[in-house]
Amino acid sequence: MMRAAALTWPVLLLSLSSLGTGLLCLAATGLRARMSLWLYAAIAFAFGQGVLATAFEFAALAGWLTTAVVATLMSAGAVVALVAFARTLPEWRATVVRACRAWLAAGLVWKVIALAVVLFFVYGFSAVGGWLIVDSPAFYLAIAKMVGGTGRLTALPGYDPFSSIGLLAELLTAALFRLGMSGTDPRVLPWVSFVPTLALLYGLARACGLGRRGSVLVAAMAVSSSAVVMLWGSGKTDLLAVGPAVAACVVMLVSWEAPDSRATLLVAGLLTGFACVFKLSYLIAFLPVVAVLAIWPILGRVQLGEPAGRRELFTLTFRAAVPLTIGFLLAFAPNLVKNHVILGNAFASNALDPFFSKATTMRVVLTYPLALTYGRYWGEVGTISPLVLAYAPLALAFHPTSGHWTSNRIFAMSAAAVAGTIAWMVLCPSALAPRYILVTLLLFAIPAASAAEVLSRRRALFSVVLLAAVLVVLMVTPAHANRDYPTLVSLTRTISSILGPQTTCSGSHPFERDCVASETINAMASPGDRVLTLTWVRFWLHPDLMQAASRTDETMPYDLCGPTCTPSAFWAIYRARPVFRFIIHDASSHFVPPGAFDSPPPDITVHRLFASGDISVYEVTLGS
């Protein structure tokens, strides 16, 4: 029971706090009057996450990310959320009653589909008991633990250039560590944050004109994408960018209807900025989406012959662009400040190496929809639901019609998704990874679900085919997500393992050896000791040791030494900078000359402290 409470309350507090902060910030924008309460609350949650994480970022840059600061900020937000909930209780009750009536009025096929989606999402919690993806104990969870443990945001030693990426999700995770979550428990955050994201996807579909059926299908397409499933509990934080990005799309659509949309566009810009800081690749894949959605209503007015001339057209575009840009810069600027403080360069960046050769890249580009749906490329980490591929092309023939294409929101969303995808294909053609452009790809679910809805209304056969397709895809998705390593496991086993007795290395699979190796160092280290990390993984080191581990410039000579390196060359590098008491080595990823540790030079003493599989830990002493 205590364990359940320890696991639940920090996440609950963070969620309530995100909601409250968002409600507080959006109170003056007038957005509430233009949408239903549940959609407004979901947008507020996404917005609040961005604001709260930015506040944590500034606190951590100043070294003030203490328990008192985190608890105060979170409690204030949570109180606002609870007060707002109490004040809107009758409205929430009416929303629930409406939802229940809609459920009762729905046909059997749609009841089954909706129920299957909800049950599958609940089952998705088992991802928290699945394997970690190597990136998370290497960087994402590691930097969060380091910041949470030390209270100060610095570059993660060994990943110094990579620390230039947006770290908002990591700061939310750091706050969870600060509130007492231990081990890899905070990896539940992406799954929890996906609840409002699903509501936002549903709301976006509704705002595009889809009915309840089509909107449920959009949610079905999202949860049956293994690219989403594999990020629910793997420790990676890419999913947290989807919420603000989808919220930005919803707000953009609302701005089309708003008579004075400056405040609305400002909110859309802020949400876009938060999404881009949560996931920097959205700068390429999502900004074109926002640009298309901003230009779309202006195109509609041009079609109606409203702007009299170029000057008026320019004024319209300028009026839309200014609040959007200001909002984006306000949200994005803290990342530049962070880079300036921790790396000394506001515009520091981590270049994305091409994943594949030119020939393979050409093949990827030519088979893009197939590669995104069925691909098994290196680093792809999941694919998009085949339901999107099955139904999206049909949207060309079976779509709800309207008077003019500029007033068709589904067409607008499709055009925006195409623009974002093409931008990514042109600028990063070899980086085939749905998680980099996840929100852009999920936008294709809107026309796909619309086509499915139209077809199911036209012929009863398509309702049956749709039901069968959704159920089969939901049944196959776990096997698809588990094909390389266990992602979704038994739900009951996950819950019992989370609530059961814990060890330091609980939830560390498949990195148990790295955990034990790090624990060995933690037990022996004294203040001021440093670790040479010839491994990717460092999450289980004590936060102080992580902060004092070898920097990129210190490990670089060992990497450059390469396969031709000799033991004497290896120890010459060490002797040039003999500041490390411990060396942790992963033979599967880092080369060390054979015999280097077994027969060191006479003035160097090496004690093997731990060895299991490819992982070893050594204590090194340099003689005088």
Partner: protein, 182 residues
């Protein structure tokens, strides 16, 4: 006046007064149109007047000369004519209103089409929630298209199922797989 005819007259007055009150109540609660109410009120007042002036109307002198069966036929014909007139009047009003509703629906659809907004059942739900109008659906796939679409959807889903079990042909997998820097 005998006690029997006085009792019948009293019952008729009570029933007709109750009917008059009910008619006025229907009008006040908005369930009966004012134009229709006027006709019914006039008819009921006339009936009450007839009952009050029972013995002084010339028709009574005439009816007293009729036999029981003849009187019954006369009353039935008069009653039928009166009810038929009221029903025809109501039906005429319903017909006029139906025509008006049809015309308004067509005008609304034309207006929606003109402003470029759409109107299917789905978007009617949306209008309540996010304030957007819905879209009409036009396309209905033919038999061949239905089969082809169903085959396409099943193929997309089945490919994932087969791929998850490593069941795709080797050349297909080679097309969809690559190692780092390959």
């Amino acid at each position: 006046m005998t006690s029997f005819s006085f009792a019948v007259q009293s019952i008729c007055l009570v029933v007709l007064t109750a009917l008059l009150v009910y008619t006025l109540a229907l009008m006040r609660t908005g369930r009966l149109n004012a134009h229709v109410t006027v006709r019914w009120v006039l008819a009921e007042v006339a009936a009450i007047g007839a009952v009050l002036l029972w013995g002084r109307l010339p028709v009574i002198a005439y009816t007293s000369t009729l036999g029981d069966r003849e009187l019954l036929v006369v009353l039935a014909v008069l009653f039928f004519g009166f009810i038929a007139f009221l029903m025809l009047d109501s039906l005429q009003r319903i017909s006029a209103q139906s025509a008006q509703v049809r015309r308004l629906t067509q005008e609304l659809a034309l207006l929606r089409e003109q402003v470029g907004h759409s109107g299917s059942g789905a978007r009617t739900e949306v209008a309540a929630e996010v304030g957007l109008p819905p879209m009409p659906e036009r396309t209905r796939p033919g038999p061949l298209a239905t089969v082809l679409i169903a085959v396409w959807i099943i193929a997309c889903v089945a490919t994932l199922a087969v791929e998850s079990q490593d069941g795709l042909p080797r050349w297909v997998m080679a097309l969809l797989t690559a190692r780092y820097k390959q």
